[in-house]
């Protein structure tokens, strides 16, 4: 990754079902709006609950507008799973946990089952 980022790491000692590799997540927001803060908060919670190893990077498009074009971001907030491949995009403030997990490929779409897909 180029450019300095503001990293936040979380407690990695959760023992939910194993996934191979670290999840690198990037959240795009546009300023410190209620939606942004909600998204950040939700993301934090979901990661701590379901993902053993992850990194979150928050990108503020108002500070770095060229990234909107570079990374093809239209909707805000947008969460991008950069690792593990393939890249996945999710939009919204992440209030719907189920959808987030489906979007991150942590849960199959049809069922309500727990654990890794």
């Amino acid at each position: 990754m180029k450019a300095r980022t503001s990293k936040r790491t979380a407690d990695r000692n959760k023992a939910a079902g194993g996934r191979d590799g670290i999840f690198r997540l990037r959240l795009y927001v546009a300023g410190q709006t209620p939606k942004s803060l909600t998204a950040i908060r939700n993301l934090q919670q979901i990661c701590e609950a379901h993902i053993p190893h992850f990194t979150i990077e928050v990108v503020d498009l108002l500070e770095r507008p060229q990234l909107a074009a570079q990374d093809q971001i239209l909707a805000v907030p947008t969460l991008v799973r950069k690792l593990p491949p393939p890249i996945r995009k999710i939009i919204g403030d992440l209030s719907d946990t189920d959808r987030v997990l489906v979007g991150l490929d942590l849960r199959p779409a049809a069922t309500n089952g727990q654990g890794a897909a």
């Binding site: 108002l62 507008p65 239209l74 909707a75 805000v76 939009i91 919204g92 719907d96």
Partner: protein, 520 residues
């Protein structure tokens, strides 16, 4: 960046317009697109929306000093540049000079998980960044409806689209938004409810194997605009729209005359010939001498050093020059010194609009004093009678406004009503010369008469027309019951009257002058 104060001020402000630089479109819209406002450009696939939009930006940057941003949802910048290489938009150069920015927005086709509240601020940030990086005054969004296929929350979408148009107005950029034409709406998702300032629709249809493109200004708030369909072409300059005519009959009547190139014919027209700036129609059956009359006029004009445009639909240039040489008319030297300009084309090669547009273009380029179209009836292959008539009206109107004299030849089918051309433009014609073949006592002779000629006391006689080695001769009418006597009959008559036989085709004793009628 100016804000639109039309609502806050009570005073009436004239609507400001931005010239498009697209030939014909600025005339149809009476000055271009509304400045600082969005215009919807709607049409089916392949109608030319992207072309028109890109041309708007390219001309804006090149001719009017207004940089532009092209937001594409369906083509990458590379694809766009490739598509436009054969046109003279110079896109790469404009991009290098930072007068144009192409931004490609990729919408995930697969369903993105929507996990809660969101908005399209990313789009706004990108747009603002793009506009600021070149100082854009013009923006194209092609096509906004792509957003609908990427995001499923229609309520959010509509709210954001409204926000987008507000943003564009505040930024003071003149925007074109393209839309795919729906069955009943102008756009598939009803975009027109947001954009109510100006709506232009493009159409592309195939009639009788000939494709025609039309443009129509459906709505343009606050201005008088042409509401008809205007045909347009796509050629290497991009789009050209056939210009409209003046809205009223404001031409000043010309008073100067010009010889027809045939002294005997001038004699039938008060001895002075045609009015300058008038429209002359020469109609007749095949082989009756129409092209010869036209060619005489062409030579007369060129001989005076005036520019003449001769549009030929039936014969090639060399055929015409050869044929005219056989009656003693040398056109070659005038072609060489460029006072006489021929444009020959097969009528079925292109649609009607293409021909007329080409004629318009040549007129712009050459500024001829005289335009000849021989024959106009060949254009019938291009469309219905109504269309031809309306196109011809526009052409004639255009020529009259420029005080250009026009001569058209028209082919009538044998045995038909001589005084009616298939195209029905007689009311637009100032001088109408009819050629007839007359069969008398085993001979076919050519007769000519002036059916009408506004503003002059023209002859009403039917006289005999001869194609001699020294050009056209028109013999004065003789006495007798018949309008035109065959040579042998005249011979006999002379014999009867004078008791002598005159050699050759001499004119008989002084004829009683024919009746002269003054026609309005």
């Amino acid at each position: 960046m100016t804000k639109n104060n039309n609502h806050s001020q009570r005073g009436v402000q004239p609507l400001r317009k931005s010239l498009t630089g697209i030939r014909g479109l600025d005339e149809v819209t009476a000055g271009g697109l509304p400045t600082g406002r969005p215009t919807i450009l709607s049409g089916g696939p392949g109608c030319g929306k992207t072309m028109l939009a890109m041309q708007f930006l390219a001309r804006g940057a090149e001719l009017f000093g207004e940089p532009g941003v092209f937001i594409a949802f369906e083509e990458t910048p590379r694809e766009l540049l490739e598509n436009f290489t054969s046109f003279d938009f110079h896109l790469e150069r404009l991009i290098a000079r930072k007068k144009l920015l192409l931004d490609y927005i990729y919408i995930e086709r697969s369903e993105m998980q929507e996990t809660g509240e969101y908005d399209l601020s990313g789009l706004f940030i990108r747009l603002k960044h793009a506009i600021e990086s070149v100082g854009a005054k013009r923006v194209v969004i092609d096509t906004l409806e792509a957003l609908f296929s990427g995001f499923s929350n229609v309520a959010i979408l509509r709210a954001e689209i409204r926000r987008l148009f507000r943003f564009l107005k505040e930024a003071g950029v003149t925007t074109i938004v393209t839309a795919e034409r729906g069955d009943t709406n102008l756009s598939r998702y009803g975009l027109e409810e947001y954009v109510s300032d100006c709506v232009i629709v493009l159409d592309h249809r195939v009639d009788e194997q000939v494709s025609t493109r039309r443009l129509r200004v459906v709505k343009y708030r606050g201005t008088l605009h042409g509401t008809n369909e205007y045909p347009f072409l796509i050629e290497d300059h991009g789009i050209s729209v056939l210009p409209i005519t003046s809205l009223g009959l404001k031409h000043t009547a010309p008073t100067k005359r010009i010889s027809s190139g045939i002294p005997d014919l001038d004699e039938m027209l008060e001895g002075k010939g045609y009015y300058r700036g008038s429209t002359i129609l020469v109609s007749g059956t095949a082989g009756s001498g129409k092209t010869s009359i036209a060619a005489h006029f062409a030579r007369e004009v060129a001989h005076r050093g005036e520019e003449c445009l001769y549009v030929a639909f039936e014969e090639s240039v060399s055929q015409i020059t050869r044929n005219m040489r056989s009656i003693g008319l040398e056109l070659e030297p005038f072609v060489r010194n460029k006072t006489l300009c021929f444009h020959a084309a097969r009528p079925t090669a292109y649609g009607l609009e293409m021909h007329l547009l080409e004629i318009h273009r040549l007129i712009e380029e050459l500024s001829p004093r005289v335009v000849i179209v021989d024959p106009i009836t060949d254009l019938l292959y291009g469309g219905s009678e109504v269309e031809i008539r309306s196109m011809l009206m526009r052409l004639i109107d255009h020529l009259k406004t420029k005080q250009t004299t026009a001569l058209f030849t028209s082919l009538n089918s044998t045995g038909g009503n001589f005084e009616q051309t298939e195209v029905g433009v007689s009311s637009l014609i100032d001088t109408w010369i009819v050629l007839r073949e007359v069969e008398i006592t085993g001979e076919r002779n050519r007769g000519v008469y002036v059916l009408k000629s506004r503003g002059m006391a023209h002859s009403n006689q039917i006289r005999e027309l001869l194609l001699t080695k020294k050009g056209i001769r028109i013999l004065p009418a003789d006495r007798g019951l018949l309008g035109v006597l065959a040579n042998s009959a005249r011979f006999d008559k002379q014999e009867q009257e004078t008791g002598r036989v005159n050699g050759g085709r001499e004119v008989g004793s002084a004829p009683r002058p024919g009746k002269v009628a003054i026609r309005g």
